[in-house]
């Protein structure tokens, strides 16, 4: 491997995440067809659209869970589409939370959280434990330090997964339909945690089906349709859409 090359110092107003004309196909199926959007520091971008519109794929491309066929993706000054990308360095800057929480079932919540800081960033054990306590307090789960994931409700597991990502002190957080697997009465507690993060100035990209949540939190809404950014703008576009597709999408609530 090459010696670690620091990404060039980005100008202060450079976007944290930028997609430029991104193309991606799965076989003959075109999922991303020239997608462009960018996310500034401290901004919250919400990706919405029907199932299969490409929003989750776009999100996963940002963290290099998918490679792209054309275009450019820049994240925290790194070119994600570069074949020689230091993927692990990228993922230290980018936190991702999934729909199905994906906590490690054989580890306690504390061990789930301390694993990566200790193994990847070489944070000493004691310091990592202090960090775990801090991020768990941030999501309101300080008393669950020594519980196993299966002992927690879905909402608590998802909050713990958010805490696990936070412990890596990412510069941007990605949320992939993080409330879709939850019972309706449990979504609120997770959304509140995300709102608190937004209020703290965390840069975030979210894929969600919760329209009222999106309206409340988004600095930018990106409506995806058939692999393209069909309409984008401030949260206001959800109330007064300018394309019939978005109007219909918002109207049906899905």
């Amino acid at each position: 491997m090459n010696a670690h090359v620091n990404p060039p110092a980005a100008p202060p107003n450079a976007p944290v995440v930028a997609l430029r004309n991104v193309h991606k196909s799965f076989g003959s199926l075109k999922v991303l067809d020239g997608v462009s959007f960018s996310v500034g520091r401290g901004e919250v971008t919400v990706l919405i659209g029907r199932s299969g519109s490409g929003k989750s794929t776009a999100l996963r491309c940002i963290d290099r869970f998918e490679t792209i066929d054309g275009g450019e993706i820049e994240v925290c000054g790194r070119r994600v589409d570069d074949a020689g990308l230091d993927v692990r360095a990228l993922r230290q800057d980018v936190g991702i939370v999934f729909q199905s929480y994906n906590l490690f079932p054989h580890l306690t919540i504390e061990e789930n959280i301390t694993l990566a800081p200790h193994a990847v960033k070489k944070v000493p054990k004691a310091e990592a434990r202090a960090l775990a306590a801090k991020v768990l307090a941030q999501v309101g789960l300080e008393e669950k330090l020594h519980a196993y994931p299966e002992q927690l409700s879905g909402g608590q597991q998802q909050r713990a997964a958010i805490a696990r990502s936070l412990a890596m002190q990412p510069k941007v957080m990605l949320f992939d339909e993080v409330t879709s697997a939850l019972d309706p009465e449990l979504t609120g507690e997770v959304l509140k945690v995300i709102e608190a993060l937004a209020a703290d100035g965390m840069t975030m990209v979210l894929v969600t089906h919760e329209m009222s949540f999106a309206r409340g939190i988004a600095d930018q809404v990106v409506f995806m349709h058939k692999g393209k950014v069909h309409e984008a703008g401030p949260a206001g576009i959800l109330s007064s859409p300018s394309t019939p597709e978005l109007a219909q999408f918002v109207g049906t609530g899905f």
Partner: protein, 220 residues
């Protein structure tokens, strides 16, 4: 010798039974270590390594253990390598068990949900960290019941080592029978001993399987 079955015969059988256990242990430790490498090879990111491991598994699973025993004892002797029955039997069992345990364990590694890999990747863990800290601990839980279950096969298959002159339980029975001519009694005793070695293992395997099912974490 000749005459009736006496305490010395039983002691001889007991000695043979100990070697059956010993050979089973050698097979489990040797085959387990080698089989672990085979399992890792089967899920390796390198295509060449995956192919190599898969070829090994196919080759050994398609060959009777008896033939492997003959090959390593008589075959190697014909080529000028003189190896003891213990070495031939131990090596054959190791080769054989590795192919099966390797395949069982590959299944267990692959049974850990793909999302666990992704979550570990998202946290910037390296491939070996993901394997050691996230995937293997979960795979080992899944692997315990079928591994204990396979130990029954190991114990029974050690009887084939009798053909290379390794005096385990079956061979010691044959030797006694050659002088006593009481095959029904002697092989009945041997069957009972095998059963009493295997039955606890299969019971244990079933119990582990049940408790693994009950403790299955509630994943979405």
């Amino acid at each position: 010798m000749g005459g009736a079955l006496n305490i010395n015969h039983l002691l001889f059988l007991g000695h043979g039974a100990l070697w059956t256990i010993g050979l089973s242990a050698i097979a489990l430790i040797g085959g387990g270590s080698f089989g672990f490498l085979i399992a890792l090879g089967r899920v390796s990111p390198s295509r060449a390594v995956r192919l190599l491991a898969a070829t090994y598994v196919q080759l050994i699973q398609g060959t009777p253990l008896l033939v492997i025993m003959f090959l390593s004892f008589f075959g190697l002797a014909a080529l000028g390598f003189n190896i003891s029955p213990l070495l031939a039997a131990g090596a054959s069992m190791t080769i054989f068990v590795a192919a099966y345990l390797g395949e069982i364990w590959r299944g267990c590694i692959e049974a850990v949900p793909k999302q666990q890999w992704e979550a570990a990747e998202g946290l910037a863990l390296s491939r070996s960290q993901r394997m050691v800290k996230v995937i293997l601990p979960q795979a080992i839980r899944l692997a315990t019941p079928p591994t204990v279950g396979f130990m029954v096969q190991i114990v029974k298959n050690t009887s084939l080592a009798s053909v290379v002159g390794f005096v385990e339980l079956t061979r010691s029975g044959q030797i006694i029978n050659n002088s006593l001519f009481e095959p029904f009694i002697i092989y009945s005793i041997i069957a009972v001993v095998y059963f009493s070695l295997c039955y606890p293992l299969s019971r244990l395997s079933r119990r582990l399987e049940r408790s693994a099912l009950q403790k299955k974490p509630a994943l979405a």
